[in-house]
């Protein structure tokens, strides 16, 4: 028994060190550097009126790859949206994991280091979530910026959408096609394609890690895509449908965060597949590839050469052969998560020392689990907070200042 434990540990350590070395070169995929854009400038500076300002910022410049810089140059205003999306992703990640041992903490960003810390060097669940949520956030933010008209290259021409030819196979993603033309349903498509171009740069489907990243990025986008709908209503004399008006129903990002968190809990572990890329039986990817070949008028297809059309056409094999292969919306990982209880500088893990916990909860946020059985300290602190807030029309909120005693539990 002891021997097996030891071997497992040894194997794990080996795995970690290999990965660690690997990450220096190409291991984790190179697509994650752009996250730094979240810290590159305060939102105030990123006014949509002057998209050039952000682009010129040297700290931004350093975080982007060549292709990403080109995309930003070609789509003025998009960088602001990406930065907004990156911040949104961090925010949402920290919200979703506020009660977990791993709380999605970000480090002070330094060039060349990763925003989320070294945890990203490992192919574990947490990494899968980070990739999915960042890619989803970019899709979401870019689609929204489109409908706001902040990105020049995707403004929708309201007057011509009726006469625009509808190509039946022109949907990279299932669901978009079912929309009736009305308002700007192009936005999500643009967001989707842009996110593929921008976020997936550098991931080239060469090793398992890159496949994992690609899959999770795609899964994040799929979630945004499927949550977004267009609703229409008819207007006319006595219930006839002379004109139809449509509007977008973009879900709040919180909804996407919630669904991704669900997927995180049910993420599938995968391993290298020998089946190969081309003969995938994944319905979604197959469909995508087909439509790729049919039309070549979208940004994505134009820029992707023939040699790379298989980028998304792979099927990952479940680690446990009895499990179902992961679907396009599932998150995948291939390494077990490290323990997040204790500080581990090698993996950039802060540990749960000093975290606040809930002594009555029996869930993950409860003191027993969060503090990993180390016990916790209970303090009574004076809290000064605003209270008895009343809303005065219009538009002022007046509050009193209250002092209350609060019991705070912190992990040892």
């Amino acid at each position: 028994m002891k021997i097996t434990v030891v071997t497992v540990v040894v194997l794990l350590m080996g795995c970690i060190s290999v990965e660690y070395v690997d990450s220096r070169s190409k291991g984790r995929g190179k697509g994650s550097m752009w996250w730094g854009i979240a810290k590159a400038g305060e939102p105030n500076n990123l006014s949509p009126l002057s998209p050039g300002v952000l682009y010129m910022d040297s700290s931004v410049h350093g975080t982007l790859r060549k292709k990403q810089r080109r995309l930003a140059r070609e789509n003025p205003g998009v960088l602001v949206a990406v930065a907004k999306g990156a911040n949104q992703a961090i925010h949402e990640c920290q919200y979703q994991f506020r009660n977990r041992r791993w709380n999605c903490s970000t480090r002070n960003f330094l060039r060349g280091k990763n925003l989320f810390g070294k945890i990203v060097d490992r192919g574990c669940r947490e990494t899968a979530f980070i990739y999915a949520i960042t890619s989803a956030a970019v899709t979401h933010a870019v689609a929204r910026a489109c409908s706001e008209g902040a990105i020049e290259t995707c403004n929708c021409d309201y007057s011509h959408h009726k006469s625009r030819p509808r190509v039946s196979g022109n949907s990279a993603v299932a669901g978009v096609r079912d929309w009736e033309w009305g308002g700007c349903s192009d936005n999500i498509r643009f967001g989707f394609k842009f996110s593929r171009e921008f976020v997936d740069t550098g991931e080239r489907n060469r090793n398992l890690r890159e496949k994992m990243n690609l899959h999770n990025n795609e899964a994040g986008r799929m979630h945004v895509q499927s949550q977004m709908r267009q609703e229409c209503k008819c207007h006319g004399m006595s219930g006839s449908c002379t004109v139809k008006t449509c509007w977008m129903r973009l879900p709040p990002f919180r909804v996407i965060g919630d669904t991704l968190k669900d997927r995180f809990d049910g993420a599938s572990r995968v391993m290298v597949s020998n089946v190969g890329n081309a003969h995938s039986n994944n319905a979604h990817n197959n469909k995508y590839n087909k439509s790729n070949n049919i039309n070549s008028n979208s940004i994505h297809n134009r820029r992707e050469g023939k040699g790379r059309k298989q980028k998304y056409g792979f099927q990952l094999k479940p680690y446990n052969p009895e499990h179902k292969p992961p679907g396009p919306k599932d998150l995948v990982y291939y390494e077990p998560s490290p323990g997040f209880c204790d500080r581990n500088p090698k993996l950039g893990i802060q540990g749960t020392h000093g975290r606040q916990c809930n002594d009555t909860s029996i869930g993950v946020d409860g003191c027993d689990l969060l503090c990993c059985g180390r016990g916790y300290r209970t303090q009574v602190v004076d809290v000064v907070e605003r209270c008895n807030c009343t809303f005065h029309w219009c538009c002022e909120v007046k509050c009193d200042v209250c002092r209350t005693k609060k019991t705070v539990h912190t992990c040892l």
Binding site: G182, G183, H235, G236, M237, G239, T242, W247
Partner: protein, 440 residues
């Protein structure tokens, strides 16, 4: 602070911030339709200018061209062709009927009514592409009303219009798409009415346009603003759906008023009132709802249907009017159910209030009496209370009616029975109760 409020997410908005609602729904739906409206208004302004300054001939030509331009904005090619065929058939029949009338001196105008109704019924039940039909039904209704009114007017001594003038009347850009119905004389008046106060005209047009956008956003975005999960009550959600339908109607009505004003029509106060939302939202009785719903249509029904049938008796006239009205709507099952229900309800209400007025000597008639000779006037608070109760019953009835209309044109909507069953047929029981009271 204000911007914080605007951007914070509210549970009652389905987790959206007011800004999100504005941007994703209100702005999107208004922007979606704004170009069409702008073009429509421009075409009508051009029409008005030309008709004011050029000769008779140019005026009709301009009307035809303008009508085509307006139709092209929203109606598909095949539907426009279909519509033109209908107009041609209508003209030929009208011509034949008129010839027969002149030769044999018999009344033939009912042929036109019959023809229009049969055509609309055929389209409603036999037309292969129902989506197309639902798109163009409004056009056909307006045209059918115009043809019917024209036939009656013809036999009362108007000159017979040439196909050219006829086409101008039918395709008048101010009302070809969203109505309202106007009579042939009214159509010709546009040329005469160039003397008007421009300032009040501009003001009223802008006012009406703003109202129409307001009701459009109410109609579209209400389902976001009041999410059913927050207020989980079937009555509130049914009221919301009915209200959304009514708002859609107000939107169309105010929009058509705007096009009418731009096209140069309107009364001496530079208005062309089509609907009165206040009278419908806070009704005193169903009759006032029916009258205020679509005033030009009401005028049409009164003049060409009700007064024509009145010689057969009062009750028959009311019934006949509702029947013709629902036939004009193509006898769509939902609309027919709504109209029959309105007919029955307003009959019950009329009888009851008449009885109450007589037995208590109070001003409780459905329409306020012109010179009230009753003992208790409308200013009496008890009378006000009774009227308030009737208003509440009417609002409840409107929920029932609006719920049906909400999904006209959606093929997979639940049936009438299911929708009313959801609301326990409450309004029907109330009406039955009231009807029984009238016999006491």
């Amino acid at each position: 602070m204000l911007s914080y409020l605007l951007h914070s997410q509210f549970e009652c908005l389905g987790g959206l911030s007011p800004y999100d609602v504005w941007e994703l729904c209100i702005q999107a739906s208004c922007m979606d339709i704004a170009p069409k409206i702008v073009y429509m208004l421009i075409y009508n302004l051009v029409y008005q200018l030309i008709s004011a300054y050029f000769s008779h001939k140019v005026f009709h030509l301009c009307s035809i061209v303008g009508g085509f331009a307006v139709m092209r904005l929203a109606i598909s090619h095949s539907n426009i062709t279909h519509f033109l065929v209908f107009l041609a058939v209508g003209y030929v029949c009208m011509y034949c009927a008129n010839r027969v009338h002149l030769k044999k001196q018999i009344k033939t105008e009912y042929i036109a009514v019959l023809l229009c109704i049969v055509y609309l019924l055929l389209c409603e039940f036999v037309y292969p592409n129902q989506d197309d039909w639902i798109q163009s039904r409004g056009l056909f209704m307006i045209a059918a009303m115009k043809i019917i009114s024209l036939c009656f007017d013809l036999q009362n001594g108007h000159y017979f219009p040439s196909p050219y003038v006829y086409a101008g009347y039918m395709l008048c850009p101010a009302n070809v798409m969203f109505g309202p119905w106007i009579s042939f004389t009214e159509y010709n008046i546009a040329r005469v009415m160039s003397q008007r106060k421009k300032f009040t005209w501009v003001l009223r047009t802008i006012h009406v346009l703003l109202l129409s956008f307001f009701f459009l956003s109410m109609s579209n975005c209400l389902s976001i603003i009041v999410i059913p999960s927050v207020i989980d009550n079937k009555w509130i959600s049914a009221y919301r759906r009915a209200f959304s339908f009514r708002c859609s109607h107000y939107f169309i009505s105010f929009l058509s008023e705007a096009t009418m004003l731009c096209g140069g029509y309107g009364d001496s106060k530079n208005q062309y009132v089509i609907t009165r939302p206040f009278d419908i939202e806070l009704p005193t009785s169903l009759v006032s709802v029916v009258v205020s719903w679509n005033i030009p249509m009401h005028r049409f029904l009164k003049k060409y249907v009700y007064l024509e049938i009145l010689r057969f008796g009062y009750f028959k006239a009311i019934l006949g009017t509702y029947l013709i009205s629902s036939l004009l709507h193509g006898f769509n099952l939902e609309i027919a159910a709504v109209l029959v229900t309105i007919g029955a309800y307003s009959f019950v209400q009329f009888r009851l209030q008449e009885k109450l007025a007589r037995s208590f000597n109070a001003c409780l008639r459905v329409r306020p009496c012109r010179t009230c000779t009753h003992k208790y006037k409308r200013s009496n608070w008890l009378i006000k209370l009774v009227l308030l109760i009737f208003a509440c019953i009417t609002i409840c009835d409107l929920i029932f009616l609006g719920v049906l209309m909400d999904s006209v044109g959606y093929p997979d909507a639940p049936s009438i029975y299911e929708k009313w069953g959801d609301l326990d047929f409450l309004s029907h029981w109330v009406m039955l109760g009231l009807y029984i009271i009238t016999f006491i």
